[in-house]
Amino acid sequence: MVSLRPAYSAAFKREVLLELPPGLPVDVFSPAWAWGGSSGQGVKVAILDSGVDASHPDVGPIQGYVRIFEDEQRKLVVDTEPHEDSFGHGTACAGIIRSIAPECEIYSVKVLGSGLSGSGRIFAAGLQWAIDNRMAVCNLSLGTTKRDFFGVFHELADLAYFKHVALVTAANNMPIPSFPSVYASVMSVAAHDAGDPYTFYYNPNPPVEFGAFGIDVRLPWLDHKHITATGNSYAAPHITGIVAKILGKHPGLTVFQLKTLLRALAANVKREPSAASTG
């Protein structure tokens, strides 16, 4: 059992979780209404990461591959041939998403190379690709702490928000703000240890708004293996999977509608009927 929690996850510890009033008459929302019977079918999910190993039994075939890299002239190149996972991280995220929304359409947007190297420029290009190609939801279990990229990612996050592309981002495991996870327009996620993949919490004191299962999670990894690991990275795909399930049943919801729904269904938000709706 890990004794050191990832940064930004303290708000989701059982002992400090706040129980919140619903705020709106949202009693019509229930898990059954939101995602009951949905497998995420037809929902395009981009995973911006180290690649995805589609041969892992927990993942299976995926619907698209996009690898972005710089050529010798430092120009950005997009390669759509199938690629591998350089590290296992992307496969872990894909496995979690598949376990919640088995029939969503997964696109591996490989922006991280071997040796875990990445560049802000390539990461931004991957996000631009996802927006341009009308992904419904993007899993960003990564970020950049470099202030130089603040504006670039802020613009992309706004663009995604207005085009109804949901960005689900993992907060940094270190207590350093990373972009785009601290922006208001994204769904930022940190880790809890409550075990249930469908249990998530709302944090009334952002910048990280949601808590999902991310501590001691059993994950698919490279070479068809499984590992147990901890990180905000593994909390984000739980929300991505749930969002994909919701959109499979209620396509076209805006980002703010999704956030309202997630808040209403959070395990720490009361769901009794409001006075206005009784009688």
Binding site: S3, L142, T144, N173, P175, I176, L219, T228
Partner: protein
């Protein structure tokens, strides 16, 4: 008081924090240098008071007494001694590079490397310095 990696509530190092850390390091470096030169805090303060020109002698003597008793209190204060120790550490780090922000980054990256080396976090990803200081 210098707080490094111990911020409560999941807060982060703002640019102001980094600047403060840098400023502290510079001031601490001066204090350390001077205290080495003078050996004891008391004589440091006494010398400072002596250097004040243009005030009446009796005022200067009162000031010197009060400064001396303050100095001896502070020199034995555990908080002060701890601050001094931390200041020496920061000075050592800052002396390696020009910018205080780089020094802080170095501290945080070392801590991140430590976290990564622990079995529970072996599966986490630590991204290269191209994306900055973090793991996700």
């Amino acid at each position: 008081m210098l707080e490094l990696l111990d911020k409560e509530g999941g807060s982060h190092f703002s640019p102001e924090d980094m600047e403060a850390l840098g400023l502290f390091a510079n001031q601490a470096a001066v204090a350390i240098e001077q205290s080495r030169t003078h050996g004891r805090m008391e004589s440091l303060v006494a010398n400072f008071v002596q250097s004040l020109g243009g005030i009446p002698e009796h005022q200067r003597l009162t000031l010197a007494e009060r400064a001396a008793s303050f100095a001896s209190d502070v020199s034995n204060d555990p908080q002060y001694l701890r601050s001094l120790e931390l200041a020496r550490l920061v000075q050592e780090i800052v002396a390696q590079r020009d910018r205080a922000t780089d020094a802080c980054q170095g501290i945080l990256e070392s801590f991140a490397a430590f976290l990564r080396s622990r079995p529970a976090t072996a599966g986490e990803m630590g991204l290269s310095t191209e994306l900055g200081s973090g793991s996700w």
